[in-house]
Amino acid sequence: MKVKVLLFASLREVVGSSQSAVELEPGASVGDVWARMISLYPRLAPHTGTVAFALNSAYTNPHEALHEGDEVAFLPPVSGG
């Protein structure tokens, strides 16, 4: 299945793009997408532990299972205001 991946701020700058797509086995989780991104962009690895996960515009946890067409976002610590 295919899911959309969004990256913001420093994560976006590491990857060089705010949006991409990944192909995953059925049953893959949000954490699996993060692992995939790290394998593609090793400089993302230091962000593990501070990155937050969102699924379809809501916070989620890395164990959440994905479905075709889902939108997964990786969020550095927020600093709005």
């Binding site: 420093s10 976006r12 969020l75 550095p76 927020v78 600093s79 709005g80």
Partner: protein, 154 residues
């Protein structure tokens, strides 16, 4: 977008929602008008602006990036919680994105309530929640460089 409390559509201001991320300059009067209804006597606002310094370092500009759709949903979630917890009439939150000069407004929260103390408390608490959970990121520009705030590894 509908109001989770009443099931009615949010009142719109010139077609804009009460919870909005925008790259246009923010107006406090706009947001005050957005939350005012005839029954209100008091609106409290918090207005965040770009400071010319941070931690002793001179700041020349800030840039805000947002996950806009999620940020608006999070602001609405916070707003709904504030309305119910503080007996507000209404609340609105607006965050700006893009590059802002010193003195420009980055965020406004406006709360209307029959009870002034509740409106003050709701504004302050909503800001704390916004800073903690709304997906917006701030980059500081100095004379000699730039840095995303609080994203050490970046």
């Amino acid at each position: 977008m509908t109001d989770p409390l009443s099931g009615q559509p949010h009142r719109l201001i010139e077609g804009r929602s009460l919870f909005e991320v925008t790259d246009r300059p923010l107006s406090v009067d706009d947001l005050v008008n957005a939350v005012l209804t005839g029954g209100d006597g008091a609106v409290v606002t918090f207005v965040g602006t770009v400071r010319d310094n941070n931690d002793g370092r001179s700041v020349v500009a800030l840039e805000y990036e947002a996950y806009a759709g999620m940020a608006e949903a999070e602001m609405e979630r916070i707003g709904v919680e504030m309305i119910s917890k503080h007996s507000l009439h209404n609340i609105a939150m607006r965050h700006r994105t893009g590059k802002l000069a010193v003195g420009e407004i980055s965020v406004i929260i406006a709360a209307s309530s029959p009870h002034r103390a509740e409106a003050f408390a709701a504004c302050s608490e909503a800001l704390d929640m916004l800073k903690a959970t709304v997906p917006v990121w701030k980059k500081e520009y100095f004379e000699d460089g730039e840095v995303w705030v609080g994203q050490g590894a970046g």
